[in-house]
């Protein structure tokens, strides 16, 4: 087992290296630069700035320097926000996104799985139809439609919750963003869970368990849940990536100072080091999470040999 985990984690390293290299060179060969202004800087000033950030050296040397700094966990200085390093800005933004994202993720997993099980057990009843129509609506309603509608109802008309802002992570300020973000994933997970639960409940070993006269909750929790969870577990990787990227929209709508906001501003300002740093960070998170999901899958599925 340990060998499998190690192997899976080691496999992530070349992937990460490719990601870093591609993003770095894409960024360096992109037209325009963060220091160009409408009037244009005098060439001497430009040369000074380029020297300060090491942009006057050959590209391969910049690449090696960047890689060296990255190995020490340094993402370099921000090109736009003077006196701030990318690390400073990211360390302020990451907790915001992580809090909202993990709430959304846990909510999606919990609610999605229970909704799916409920629908599967009462197949073709009004519970099934009701929850599945809701799930369909959740799948087709993009977060950038849902979030403004939620704001309109709960923040503007009813005035129950604030319409945006972060306010140091006060719970009230998190409710709407989390709901806006998680709806899609609750729906998708519920749909997947329903399908696999129906399949599992029709399989032979469940029939045996029923024939033995085991109570229903026992059958579900002890026997059916584990195999039925497998498709959901393999969906968790994409869901995680989606929640990270979805934060771009949600943070823009609710004005939250998170990673998504930082990335869009960085891209619009051509703050290359910021965009590069965030891409690598998110890529690394994605790769790690996918590896974790794979390992989890191997734990749950007895058919997988390692």
């Amino acid at each position: 087992m340990l060998k499998f985990i190690l192997k899976r984690l080691l496999e992530a390293i070349p992937t990460l290296l490719v990601l870093i290299t591609v993003s770095f060179f894409m960024m360096r060969f992109a037209p325009g630069n963060p220091f160009s202004t409408e009037r244009g800087l005098p060439p001497e000033v430009m040369a000074n700035i380029q020297q300060k950030y090491g942009l006057d050296k050959p590209v391969y040397q910049q690449y090696l320097t960047y890689l060296g700094n990255l190995a020490q966990g340094d993402l370099g200085p921000s090109f736009k926000y003077k006196d701030f390093s990318v690390n400073d800005l990211v360390s302020k933004a990451l907790p915001v996104s992580a809090t909202i994202g993990s709430f959304a993720f846990l909510l999606a997993l919990g609610l999605g799985v229970s909704l799916g099980i409920m629908a599967a057990l009462r197949q073709n009843s009004w519970v099934d139809y009701g929850s599945m129509s809701l799930a369909m609506l959740g799948v087709v309603m993009p977060s950038f439609v849902l979030a403004p509608v939620l704001t309109l109802i709960f923040a503007i008309n009813l005035q129950w919750l604030p319409a945006g802002g972060w306010n140091g992570g006060h719970l009230q300020f998190m409710i709407l963003p989390v709901i806006g973000m998680t709806m899609y994933y609750i729906s998708s997970i519920a749909r997947i869970m329903r399908g696999s639960m129906i399949e599992t409940m029709n399989s032979n070993f469940i029939r045996t368990a029923r024939a033995k006269g085991l109570p229903l909750h026992h059958i579900i929790l002890r026997h059916a849940l584990r195999p039925a969870m497998l498709p959901v577990v393999s969906y968790l990787g994409p869901a995680f990536v989606g929640i990270i990227t979805g934060s771009v929209v949600i943070e823009t709508i609710f004005g939250l100072p998170g990673i998504g906001q930082l990335f869009v501003n960085g891209a619009l300002n051509r703050d290359y080091s910021m965009v590069l740093g965030l891409t690598i960070l998110v890529g690394a998170l994605t790769i790690t999470f996918n590896a974790v999901v794979d390992i989890l899958y191997a734990f749950i599925d007895p058919k997988i040999r390692y």
Binding site: S23, G32, F144, V145, L152, T245, A267
Partner: protein, 302 residues
């Protein structure tokens, strides 16, 4: 033994009658599809939306980029011909919604097409050739899976200009990964099926096997998956436009309209509601259509 002529004719006519008129996979699928009411209704609604989106702007009295100075920011008004009202610059929202639909549907369909072509070729090549090449190609795919593509697209679009073609290509190029996996899996499992072996034994040529047996069998899943890809593409484009990175003014798309609408919804709810309604209905229909096609084309389910 020599048979007399009438007997010979009788035998051959008997043999020709023996040949039962076969039902092809596609006829069967069509029959099943037309029985599925939700999918059929979705197909009809989608055709209506497509027609409306193509013809509507041509027939309307207002242009999508010309402000109507007499009624700016007005609510839906049938007398003036602004069925959906006007936006904050006085442009007719009905025409703009339809123009936005044109762009969104076009991006959706073209993007899906790009993804399907790349994905099918890649997957089929990996599956057919197999061996070492297959392993290398699948390893590459795994690496690509780990990329945060949304971030890459945002990067591409901000740095290389906001060009509609770039959006098509970027979106399509990003979404072919799943397609490639599905097609590869399908070809691999088909390659070792009995009916392919039987065809080999009968001396059917390799080319004939590919065109006659493998392609039609993969095609079903490709069709289903591309129907399910289109709504994803539409969402992706709207996502970019919502962030202001997609189509540029005065051209518009559903995402761009939603962006404007969400900014002015407190005073003018219709700015949000009409484009959102169109988009949600379209996505709904594509999903139902995809589900219907899957049920119809799955050969296991007879």
């Amino acid at each position: 033994m020599v048979l007399s002529k009438p007997k010979q004719q009788a035998v051959s006519s008997f043999a020709s009658e023996l040949e039962i008129k076969g039902r092809s996979l596609w006829q069967d699928a069509a029959r099943r599809f037309f029985k599925n009411r939700a999918a059929l209704a979705s197909l009809i609604i989608l055709s209506c939306i497509t027609l409306l989106v193509i013809l509507g702007p041509l027939l309307s009295a207002y242009a999508f980029d010309e402000p109507d100075w007499a009624s700016m920011h007005s609510a839906p008004d049938f007398a003036a011909g602004h069925y959906f009202g006007t936006d904050s610059l006085g442009r007719d929202l009905f025409v703009r919604t339809l123009m936005g639909g044109r762009i969104s549907l076009m991006v959706g369909i073209l993007g899906a097409l790009v993804a399907v072509v790349i994905g099918t070729l890649y997957g089929a090549a990996a599956g057919f050739i197999g061996g070492r090449l297959d392993r290398v190609m699948m390893r590459t795919l795994e690496i690509l899976y780990a990329f945060p593509f949304m971030f890459f697209v945002i990067m591409l679009v901000t740095f290389f200009g906001r060009n509609l073609w770039l959006i098509f290509i970027a979106i399509g190029a990003v979404s072919w990964l799943d397609m490639a996996r599905i097609v590869r899996g399908q070809t691999l499992s088909l390659k070792s099926k009995e009916f392919i072996e039987a065809a080999h034994v009968c001396g059917v040529s390799q080319w004939k096997i590919i065109t006659r047996h493998i392609v039609p069998n993969v095609l079903g899943i490709v069709v289903v998956y591309s129907t399910l890809l289109v709504p994803g593409m539409i969402l992706f484009e709207s996502f970019l436009s919502f962030l202001g990175l997609g189509v540029q003014e005065p051209m518009t798309s559903w995402g761009a309209l939603l962006d404007e609408g969400s900014k002015s919804m407190e005073v003018a709810l219709w700015h949000l509601l009409f484009p959102a309604g169109f988009m949600v209905v379209t996505l709904f229909c594509f999903n139902f259509l995809g589900d219907g096609l899957r049920d119809a084309l799955d050969p296991k389910d007879r």
